[in-house]
Amino acid sequence: MVNFDTFNFDVFWASMPWIMKLNIFFTLFFLSLAIIFFVSIIWIRIHKIYRNEKKKKQQDLLIDFLNSYLFDEDFDKDLEIKNFKENHLKTSLEVKVTIKEILHFHENLKGESARDLEILFSKLSLAEYILLDLDDGRWFTAARAINVLSELSIEVPSHRIEIYLNESRNEVRQQSQLYFLKLAKEKPLKFLDKTVRPLTTWQQIYIENALKNFYKGSAPDFSQWLDHDLSSVVEFSIRMIARYNQFENIPKLVPFLKSENEALKCESINSLTNLEFEGLLELVTPNFIENSIAIKLKILDAVEKLGDHDDLMKIGDQMATTDWELRIKYHNIELGFLPDKKELIYSQFMMEKRLVI
């Protein structure tokens, strides 16, 4: 039993072995951290609930406001905008929710309603917040700001976005590319001239999608980027020439069949196949054997689409028995050319396979 009258903590502590002191220190340290994290979890929970409630309130308000603004003819636009601005755009959360909700409406509306929303955005002075974000200096704020600008077609002086075209972050580069593309009345891919960082495949997919779905003008002549310094831009252009059926550019693609860059060579075979260029097989089949597997597979694709069984036979002799990937593709194409010999081709392949194994 501890006698509290005579208990002296200092003496007790001093008499304790150092290892116990260390253990007690770490126990308290870990428990304190655990409590801090626990309190943080509760705080995050409460904060998120509180924030979500406010968001919901603002969203409900906005849904009514935007619906009236867009579709109610008796709605006094100037007065209501003034009221909304004064009473419901006081906090940064209100501003963020409003921007997001306008973007959401904008995504689902076209034509005049979409234009009205763009006007509303500017009347609510929301563009000012976005421009502040743009100059904020943090990459993710800038990327988000550029995203809003491009979604709502808000034009800013080009140089303010151009500086992000060659940012180190993929996401920022992608948003600035989409900004130029979505806002362009003509020359939608002009930004490629100023691009010095390679385009990722993901960015290429986004650019192609935006070109198809947002840009309203006539398609650019993609051959202008065939001599670009970046091979990813050249590769993209070669692909786009075929996607946009720019047959007039076929002669400009032919030299790429001799390119030392494998990706460009592959893409050019692919595009010329899709453009159904008749002279392709004569150019690529004679030296089939000198190519890499990836290119050989592309050549086989070309034979399947543009050639016949005789063309296929010409490259059959150039294939090693152990090139299984090629041989499978070869026989699959053969099956397509000679459907009535299906069983024979299959059994012959299986026999060869057994022999080699």
Binding site: P17, F30, A34, N147, W202, I205, W324
Partner: protein, 479 residues
Amino acid sequence: MSSILSQFTEIASWLFLIYGSIISSGYLFTAIFSLVEIRDYKRRNNFEDDIALLQSLNLPAISILAPAFNEGLNIVENVRSLLTINYPSFEIVIINDGSSDNSMELLFAEYDLEKKDILYHNFVKTKDVKGIYKSKNKAFKNLTVVDKENGGKADALNTGINICQNSVICCIDVDCILENDAMLKLIKPFLNNGNKVIASGGVIRVANSCVIEDGRIIEVKLPNSFVARVQVLEYFRAFLMGRMAWSRVDGLLLISGAFGMFDKQIVIEAGGYNTDTVGEDMELLVRMRRMMQERDEPYTVGFVPDPLCWTEVPQTWKVLQRQRNRWTRGTAETLWMHKKMMFNPKYKILGMLSTPFWFFFEWLAPLIEFIGILFFIILLIMGQISWPVFLTFFFVVYSFAILFSVTALFFEEYSFQQYKKPGYILRLIGTAMLEPIIYHPVIMWSAVMGNFDLLRGKNNWGVMSRAGLSNPVKKQKSK
């Protein structure tokens, strides 16, 4: 004698203390790196939804490989769920690994299968294929079913690799429940990276007790059973803390076998899944990375922290022990097979950080812990225990274990907050407090037994029975 014993006790205590300090520091750094990576990921993805790209035809086609062994109970519903995956171009390859139940008959009947003469080559050597089947129904044109002789999960996946058509493969467990945009998110690292990406993995979540409708999670619930609930915490720790941090430093050694995407060519060049280990998922990634390092080719491995895949975890002690026994054997086998990499600067972060970390803190930790307990028992028998010191030491370990779990829970709250009911947090905290006393000793014992079984030459998986997902319309999984 007494002085020798006391000297030995002091040295051993010091060693345990040093080891404990290093392991705690390791976890601390892991937590910091994870936090940075999660914050970065949220920033990268908080302003644009890539889901619009699901309409695009420019995304590369994916082959989804799902091995199945005696899954007759749920195979039809599981395949149907896989066929509804939201992605522009994919094929599903179900590999029936010599099931002894009626899996094949059920698939035949439900999907109107017919045998097809499909040309393929054994790029990776496998057990014999009995037949390859496609559906006569055009609605299931994406489906290929391969019937083969039993050879284990690794062999089944290798068969799928040989037969599938596309250059990107996604290996999953057939009963996994995928999020709508899981494929898109998992392929993004392959397409949005300056370096060649050889594999990418996602976060696996616990599906037990969740409400599932038409093969999709519609309500996330905390498992009712304690064993499953602790695994929720374990998965937070493993994925949100561990793998996020390793991904930050490009030192990932494991992509879960339940859900991972790979560059098929690299997998084939590396030799496919190793059938001689029960840790085939870890071993494959280590071998692929080792090959790339030895070739001196720039590459990376992607990791996506979003909850993309939900799986059923063991909810009985027996099945859990078998699973952890197997994981231990898999880890030990992989580390042994690739021992050349350890502390070898040629393999950069993998050699100098990842493999040593796995060796000392994943494989060795339960053994050290076990030796510590034995040491304690010996001291107890010899009357050498200083109870005040022991109790303070126990509280250090206990408080650190709680801190580790609460930190993981904090990461979940900060990032994805899947368990929305406030009561869930309190239950998870309660679980975290009980885990070190009730659950952890069992896991440690399973790991010790795993090493023992490895020495005995045991190399089978053990029966992994599941409660299963039997009603795809609406069901609370494993209620």
